[in-house]
Subunit: 498 residues, 2 copies
Amino acid sequence: MFPYKTSLKLNKNLKEPLYLQLANQFILLIREGNLPPGTKLVGSRTLADLLQVHRKTVVACYEELLLQGWVESIPKKGTFVNKSLPLAQKTTLVGTFKTSKKKSSGFNFYDNNCLSEKKTEKRKGVIYINDGTSDTRLTPTEEIARIYRKIASKKSAYTFLDYSSTHGNVKLREVLAVYLNNSRGLKISKENILITRGSQMGMWLSSQLLLKEGDIIVVGETNYSSADITFQYQKAQIKRVSVDENGLVIDQIEKLCKKQSIKAVYVTSHHHHPTTVTLSAERRIHLLNLAQKHNFAIIEDDYDYDFNYNHAPILPLASHDSSGNVIYIGSVCKTVAPVFRVGYLVASEDFVNEAAKLRGYVDRQGDALLELTFAEFIKSGDLDRHIRKLMKIYLQRRDLFCELLKNKLGDYFQFEVPKGGMAIWVHLNKQYSWSEVAKEASKHQLEVGEWQRYDLVNKKHNAIRIGFASYNDEEIKLLIEKLKQTFKSIKKVPIKHF
Amino acid sequence: MFPYKTSLKLNKNLKEPLYLQLANQFILLIREGNLPPGTKLVGSRTLADLLQVHRKTVVACYEELLLQGWVESIPKKGTFVNKSLPLAQKTTLVGTFKTSKKKSSGFNFYDNNCLSEKKTEKRKGVIYINDGTSDTRLTPTEEIARIYRKIASKKSAYTFLDYSSTHGNVKLREVLAVYLNNSRGLKISKENILITRGSQMGMWLSSQLLLKEGDIIVVGETNYSSADITFQYQKAQIKRVSVDENGLVIDQIEKLCKKQSIKAVYVTSHHHHPTTVTLSAERRIHLLNLAQKHNFAIIEDDYDYDFNYNHAPILPLASHDSSGNVIYIGSVCKTVAPVFRVGYLVASEDFVNEAAKLRGYVDRQGDALLELTFAEFIKSGDLDRHIRKLMKIYLQRRDLFCELLKNKLGDYFQFEVPKGGMAIWVHLNKQYSWSEVAKEASKHQLEVGEWQRYDLVNKKHNAIRIGFASYNDEEIKLLIEKLKQTFKSIKKVPIKHF
């Protein structure tokens, strides 16, 4: 007889009823060839005895197997494994019903070499250099959660629980239109807004709609690596123009336009990523004029509009866009916290509608409860108050960080104090390389991060972005100290000229 | 003199400081050619008088303009609009600084004809026929919001606020691995799970990784239209096989495999969408064997696993997948509420990792607070209790709906009582067409919805899916009544044979 007793294991502590546990184990035995088609199953009384369960349990199990089509019942003969079931594949080992899901797939899929893994592993006691993230300890999470619960507890809340618009919650779109018009000089209405899951989704959707294989997109010679990768995924042709102290060199874009038809320009005009420079007024107008003349899109990623220390925020290109050439992308992720995936894509109505259609097949829709929470958070002025609070703190951190970097590590680093944002663009003395610094720093519990991503075209500029906003004063001092120790242990005499 | 007084409007009630309001309006005037390069600006004292503001406000405004590069200051001569600014494009009308964002874009983008808009508009007093959505009034929203707030209010909450794994929150992945193993007979660990924003994202990511132009994917002759569209977006070749009372006809897939190399099969094995039939045991094994032999992927969309009225849920194909051929997709959207965008993609580790990499560029990451909320909701047994509660209610609704449909509308409709799920596959008497029924129903405040999507290949099967779960008893009676009135006003004598 088949070794039922050893092959069938019942666990009375599980929530799953015994008859179902039994049925599912039978199915596995059948599926994997241990009980081949045509096999007669042991009588219910015998099996109940073997397993020490009530006979009803076995009867219920056999009925379930019958219903599902795994066995057939032949009157006066008994219960048999369904003869019409195909034999299990030979490669399936007999008795392997405890195998776990494989590591590798049984099919081929496309390997997108351009994609890089986003590492977020954090070990205790280690300081991680980031490219300019916010300090999540300052997030008003309790306040946000309070609003969330209030909204979810309203009697009318159920109306927001169902499938809803792929454009995002209409109330947040209305509130955002007013907020962006007031704070950034836009002239939009809710029809120009698609609520996204943060800037990255705005970029993804734009890239999908604008670019196909071979299409040209212009970016800076150094550029935000996630943007590059998003465009590369579409197999777009990336053309790079220089970045100087006034941002992207627009004259080079003008020259490109004379030779080729370009589809889009990606720009972080407020503070260029990674170098932190601001696109000058002159170049802003020049770029807009070019876009209008040559009908290309400007993807304006305004990731750090809220943070300016030396003067008021500079209005985005989108505020001057009377011809519908700018796709303006932003989010609350840098300002409030990355976990709150609420962002926006602002553009002409036709583009917004097409992007909304597409997002219906990407993630179907956003989270209306969270979107309503942010509508209230913005409308009440809480967001603005939060920004003002952060501004003071981050300004102080920038100053401390830059001061220490200059005084303690001036021999190794060269940098300009950034006028805004949350990061410094730091050039390393040419005698060193970030690869050796990163390796050595690691020994001092300091992780430099993916320094490679700042030099995707191998220009050897030897610079990386170092965020200052996420560390408190103590942490800043510790980070600088660890960097100092790192250089000490590299034991080179720094040369004075960079 | 330039009409400063009429062109510059200050509003003391705005939060934006006056000097900034002024500066931003100046920028618009400059940008749009009203104040061309080289124009001398009026003196600060004069402007202060004109606008009746303090002179300091105007001075601060001019300083801001200087800092941003819009104007230049020439000692002893005054303040001038920066001469090096390019002229604004001619097409920009003078004086249009109140224009709103355009309806159409100033650039071209790809029009993906395959995408269809997801309509979610709801008018009061109208009953909408859906394809099987849940009743959001039964959602334990307060309980979920309570857990959410509890998690967000913990001291350690800030650790979840930062950028995190693109695979999803690790705790939810662990809880789900156990939950899916126990409830669905899977044999997985957290490494096999990617947390998505619902089933649609699982489908999107799979489609991106599996299919390129011309690749073959097999689906049922009638199929879930969003799946079709997702594959069409990738320009895949869709091959259709018949669907009978036992689900997809796998013999037809076997024949296809002999002729061509197929990349994937999309299957809703538990209850075929839209017809609600269950894939038989025999065909399950056959399909798995074929996948193993021909190395194709099975995308198993298990959208309604939780709802079975006649017998226990049937284990998914994924529970028998020892060779890594199945990509198993599910979510809590149908079970709890669509607003909670939490789903999962279960597959071999290599595929999960590649999908996680890709999702990093789609929406960067999920919502860790919501994911933790669902980890607790599942682990505490709340989800299971909720499902048991729903099961009783939906079973009763199914029976009422089917009974009324048969007794009151038996002349017009033919259908099988579905064994599970939340919808009935309803064939219309051939004398009628859904287009005329939909048109007429609309007059009775009943919206039939997009009946076209059930017959994408124009097979004229004259059937649509009618959801029963989202209506209470009164609403079911009303819906049936409205359908009856609809047929009455169409005024045809139904023929008896379908």
